[in-house]
Structure formats: structure tokens, C-alpha cells
């Protein structure tokens, strides 16, 4: 089931050569961990960066690395989901913010033009908002307040995935210390966070 190749001849039967790895993006059942619309290249990038960072030494570490990849991807996708949710709500939030300032018709027209990135309406919107002592941040706040329940739910899921990731890192370190494979990877959590942040920037720029 697991695509491993134990080609070394060490006395530790489940220790294996560096070529051993689980299939990228595939779990034990070979089913991809991706959902519809997700970028397989970004996933593979993250997977190979985490594998390079941890350098799994045996089959147990392969299993844990797969968990690390899944949890890290889950954190990324949920953060992206929060951002998309706020972005998708901003048009309605802008209309609601402008409504008491310019009336229904103009608020709808400006919000519709702004949503399709018509830059010529930006100065007009900023002027209307400034006259009421507001900035475009008020629109983001309005969007966030409209989706607060959903954002909080997503945030809880992020925390669960992060806790899973931290637990896995601790298990790898414990296993390495006990098996005497090699010293635990120093600062793996910080390095992992850097991987995640840089991947997050890369994918949000796409």
C-alpha cells in the first residue's frame, strides 16, 4: 500500500534508503488529499519541502511526514478560505457601508463597479467614505462582522490542524531520540512555519 522500497541492508529492518517516500498527494489508499479546485503543484511543493526538511529515516517517519503534510495543507487551505470568504463578502459590505451615505441606487452602482475592479470608482468611494470619517478598512471590518461565525469556525479547524502538526513533530523527535537514528531536527517547528508562510505567499500570489 505504501510505496516504500527498503533497499538498504541495515540491521534495523524498517529503516530505509532516502528514496523511500509515500506518493505525493496520496494517502494510504492512494487517494489524493486535494479538494476540487486546489492546485496539485502547490501541494507537491509543500510536500517535498516538508520531506526535505524532516528527511524521514524509516517507515514511521514516513507516516508522520504524511500527517505533517496533510495538517500543513489543511492550515493553508483554511487560511485561504478565510481570505476568500472575506473577499467575496466585501462587495455586499461596501454597499451596506455606502447605503446610509449615498442612498441605495448609488451604493449599488459603486459597489458593483468596485467588485469588477473598475479603478475609476476608487477615488469616488474613498471620497464618500472620508466624508463620513471612514476608510476602506471599515468595509473589511463590515465584511468580517458579516462572516464572523464562519471565520470563527474555520479558525477552530485551523487550531486543530496546528495542534496535530505540533503533536507529530514531537512524536518524530521522541522517536529519533529513542531509536538513536540521529539527533532530533533542531527548530523543526519554526522551519516548518517558514515553509508554510512562504508557500502561503506563493499560492496567494497566483
Amino acid at each position: 500500500v505504501i510505496a516504500t522500497s527498503t533497499s538498504d541492508s541495515s540491521d534495523n529492518p524498517n529503516q530505509k534508503s532516502r528514496s523511500t517516500s509515500l506518493p505525493p498527494g496520496g494517502g494510504l489508499f492512494g487517494s489524493p488529499a486535494l479538494w476540487e479546485g486546489e492546485d496539485p503543484k502547490a501541494f507537491d511543493d509543500l510536500a517535498s519541502r516538508i520531506r526535505d526538511l524532516v528527511k524521514p529515516e524509516d517507515i514511521f517517519e514516513d507516516l508522520w511526514v504524511q500527517d505533517l503534510i496533510d495538517d500543513s495543507w489543511q492550515v493553508l487551505r483554511l487560511r485561504r478560505l478565510t481570505a476568500s470568504l472575506i473577499a467575496a463578502t466585501r462587495r455586499e459590505a461596501l454597499r451596506a457601508t455606502l447605503l446610509p451615505l449615498v442612498g441605495d441606487a448609488q451604493a449599488s452602482t459603486l459597489a458593483a463597479a468596485w467588485a469588477v475592479r473598475k479603478s475609476d470608482v476608487d477615488p469616488e468611494i474613498e471620497k464618500v467614505l472620508a466624508a463620513a470619517g471612514l476608510t476602506i478598512n471599515a468595509v473589511t471590518a463590515q465584511a468580517l462582522s458579516r462572516k464572523l461565525d464562519a471565520v470563527e469556525r474555520i479558525d477552530r479547524m485551523v487550531r486543530v490542524a496546528e495542534a496535530g502538526r505540533n503533536l507529530t513533530v514531537r512524536e518524530i523527535e521522541r522517536h529519533r531520540a529513542m531509536s538513536g537514528l540521529r539527533p532530533a531536527v533542531e527548530g523543526v517547528e519554526q522551519a516548518q512555519l517558514r515553509v508554510i508562510e512562504s508557500t502561503s505567499e506563493g499560492t496567494s500570489a497566483q
Binding site: V1, L28, S31, F60, R153, M178, S179
Partner: protein
């Protein structure tokens, strides 16, 4: 009187958690059947082959009885973990691929609106545009994904529970395996 009776029932209640009536037990059994996790992996011929293969990979060919047993526990938990994750992935993927997907609570709202529209029709009154829009709307984009995740978490909390248990079982078994291997090594005579 009520307090005395309640106290006298406590030990029995503690020793028999879960549904007590036949109907309750039958309903409870269906909870796990609904998502196919009620059977242990070793009861499934396909999965038990996978467990055996993975256990062999974990223990290696020359492992003793204890290590083989622990490898079996690791493999069983890992396959169980994969089964839960594959199930959740399937549920999410199917819902994402369904263009008409909506949450149960939205469906209830729509039924209420539809009944209101019919009642207004009988009275010869027009339906507000907003209600017609709600009636034919389905969540899209990020809203759809949030709806799906919320629905799955709300309706199948057992999935998370199964996953946490399988993960804990696997990690505990790996710890035991590491300890047994260490003890095997330390009991070997030092090379001359």
C-alpha cells in the same frame, strides 16, 4: 424519594453508558453503520490484507513475536486512520462536486419559503423578489466550502472522534514498538 432512587441507580448507570432500550441501541448501531466505520478493519478481507502487508513492512522479516504483534497494532491503527480520512475526503469531494449542494438548515428555510409562496399564490398575492432569490440560491465559492465543512462537522462529529482515537492508538503502538526494539538491542551481548 426521587433523590434516593436516583442515587440507587447511579452505579448501574455508570456501568452501562449508552442507550438502554432496544430501539435506542438499534438507532445507536446505525450511527456508525451510516459512515461504514462500525466494522473493525480486520473484519474486512481487503483491509486486513493491507494491515498484514503494512505490518510486515514495519516489523521486517526477522522480527520476534513481540515486535510482530506491535507492528500489527501499528498497521491496524494506520489503516483505520486512512479509512476515516478517505471517508471524510469522499464526503467533502462529493459535496463540492454537487452543483445543487445546500445545508440541511437552508433546505428547511427553503421549504418554509416555498410553503409561504404557495399560500400567497392561493390568496392571489405576489411573492417578494428576495424570497424568490433565496428559493433558488445555493451556496457558491468559499461560502459553499464553509457550508460543507460546517455540515460535516455538525452531522458527523464521530469522524473526528474516530480519527483522534486511531491516531492515538497508532502513536502509542509506535512508542511501544520503539521501547521493545530498544530493549531487544540492550539485551544482546556486546560484540567481542
Amino acid at each position: 424519594v426521587i433523590n434516593v432512587k436516583s442515587k440507587s441507580n447511579r452505579p448501574t448507570a455508570r456501568s452501562r453508558p449508552g442507550p438502554r432500550t432496544a430501539a435506542g441501541r438499534a438507532r445507536s448501531a446505525k450511527n456508525s453503520l451510516r459512515h461504514g466505520l462500525s466494522l473493525p478493519v480486520l473484519a474486512d478481507p481487503v483491509l486486513s490484507k493491507e494491515v498484514a502487508a503494512l505490518a510486515r513492512q514495519v516489523s521486517g522479516a526477522d522480527a520476534g513475536e513481540e515486535l510482530q504483534g506491535l507492528a500489527g497494532r501499528i498497521a491496524e491503527a494506520q489503516i483505520d486512520l486512512g479509512r476515516v480520512r478517505a471517508l471524510r475526503h469522499g464526503l467533502i469531494s462529493r459535496a463540492l462536486g454537487d452543483p445543487d449542494y445546500d445545508s440541511a438548515s437552508n433546505w428547511n428555510n427553503k421549504v418554509t419559503i416555498a410553503l409561504r409562496v404557495i399560500a400567497r399564490g392561493f390568496r392571489g398575492k405576489a411573492t417578494p423578489e428576495e424570497e424568490v432569490r433565496l428559493l433558488f440560491s445555493v451556496p457558491e465559492g468559499p461560502e459553499k466550502l464553509v457550508t460543507i465543512l460546517t455540515e460535516i462537522a455538525k452531522r458527523l462529529p464521530a469522524l473526528d472522534r474516530y480519527e483522534r482515537r486511531a491516531l492515538a492508538r497508532r502513536n502509542l503502538a509506535i512508542r511501544a514498538f520503539d521501547a521493545a526494539r530498544l530493549s531487544d538491542r540492550s539485551s544482546l551481548p556486546e560484540p567481542q
